[in-house]
Symmetry: C2
Subunit: 186 residues, 2 copies
């Protein structure tokens, strides 16, 4: 791939990703991943979620570290604000997914990034979760992501990086399209 | 509310939430919240997202603390696995939102919780994000949440707690239904 021979180094191993693409084209069953989390209630609206194990490429894997995150509700919801609200973790996922994509696409296109910053704003009418109005949804009405990127590229090339990242973003897809979720009690 | 006069104490101030519901029924503009995050690219697929400020009840607010989370891709994606993947943060949001809801609904129904545990599994075919097959979506195909709850209640009452939490969950709504997301470059 001539586009990967440039001097640009954003720290993404695009050659390995292209190899993976070739390998998985021949072995689609290896492309089935399962990501996992476990949650434990602490008290009130405060809980702890732990991430370590996932499956893919036909095997089970563990992250190098065990990652734990607490979530809570804020004081304006009469809670203790010991951690971010659950809906804010969706913004973490969205911003970090789009940014990783920008870095990977820039690498593939031979564009050196100097800085990538973004802000995400999600609007939500809490009359939904409070059960005030059945016509108001529980979740975000609208989310806006704004990127500010300094790179060795034109404005048009930078916009194209972001557009391609968005096109291949797993989190963007989950938020903008329906996903089937099953909730069970054992 | 006679249902809040029980001895059950799950640490959720249901009386305040019911007051908020009454107050916001009369002042819908105060129910408009904006949740925010900012992200900074570090290197490769590694980035840091920070959460502090949000708006609602007609004012700007700050969380008691500044919360920062790094995300990365795993070694099987030829990355450094310095943090969870962005899609795993969606599972953090989903588990913690449903669990907070279970605690709040249980409090409102006078049910004492002893423990609430859950596991979340999200299936994803990575041929989507790798651009191998245009018919494969980028995000999760399917997410399964399994709760195990020890409470002073029957199995049927516990299932009803989870069902009501799901019905009012902001994150469950965002994942199961489409949200409009706009991405811009400035």
């Amino acid at each position: 791939m001539s586009t990967t021979e440039s001097a640009a180094d954003n720290g993404v191993n695009v050659a390995a990703l292209l190899d993976a693409r070739n390998a998985l084209s021949e072995a689609p069953e290896a492309a089935e991943f399962t990501w996992r989390a476990t949650n434990e209630w602490l008290r009130g609206t405060h809980s702890k979620t732990t991430i370590q194990q996932y499956s893919g490429l036909g095997a089970d894997h563990e992250h190098k570290s065990v990652f734990s995150y607490t979530a809570d509700h804020p004081e304006v919801f009469a809670s203790e604000d010991l951690a971010p609200t659950p809906v804010e973790f969706l913004l973490v996922g969205l911003a970090s997914c789009l940014t990783a994509g920008v870095a990977a696409v820039a690498q593939n296109r031979g564009i050196q990034l100097r800085s990538v910053e973004s802000k995400v704003e999600g609007k939500m009418d809490i009359r939904g979760i409070l059960g005030i109005d059945a016509d108001v949804r529980n979740g975000y009405d609208d989310i806006k992501v704004t990127f500010k990127i300094d790179a060795d590229a034109s404005k048009k090339e930078i916009e194209a990086l972001v557009a391609q990242s968005q096109k291949r973003s797993a989190v963007y897809d989950v938020i903008t399209n329906p996903v089937n979720v099953t909730v069970e009690v054992v």
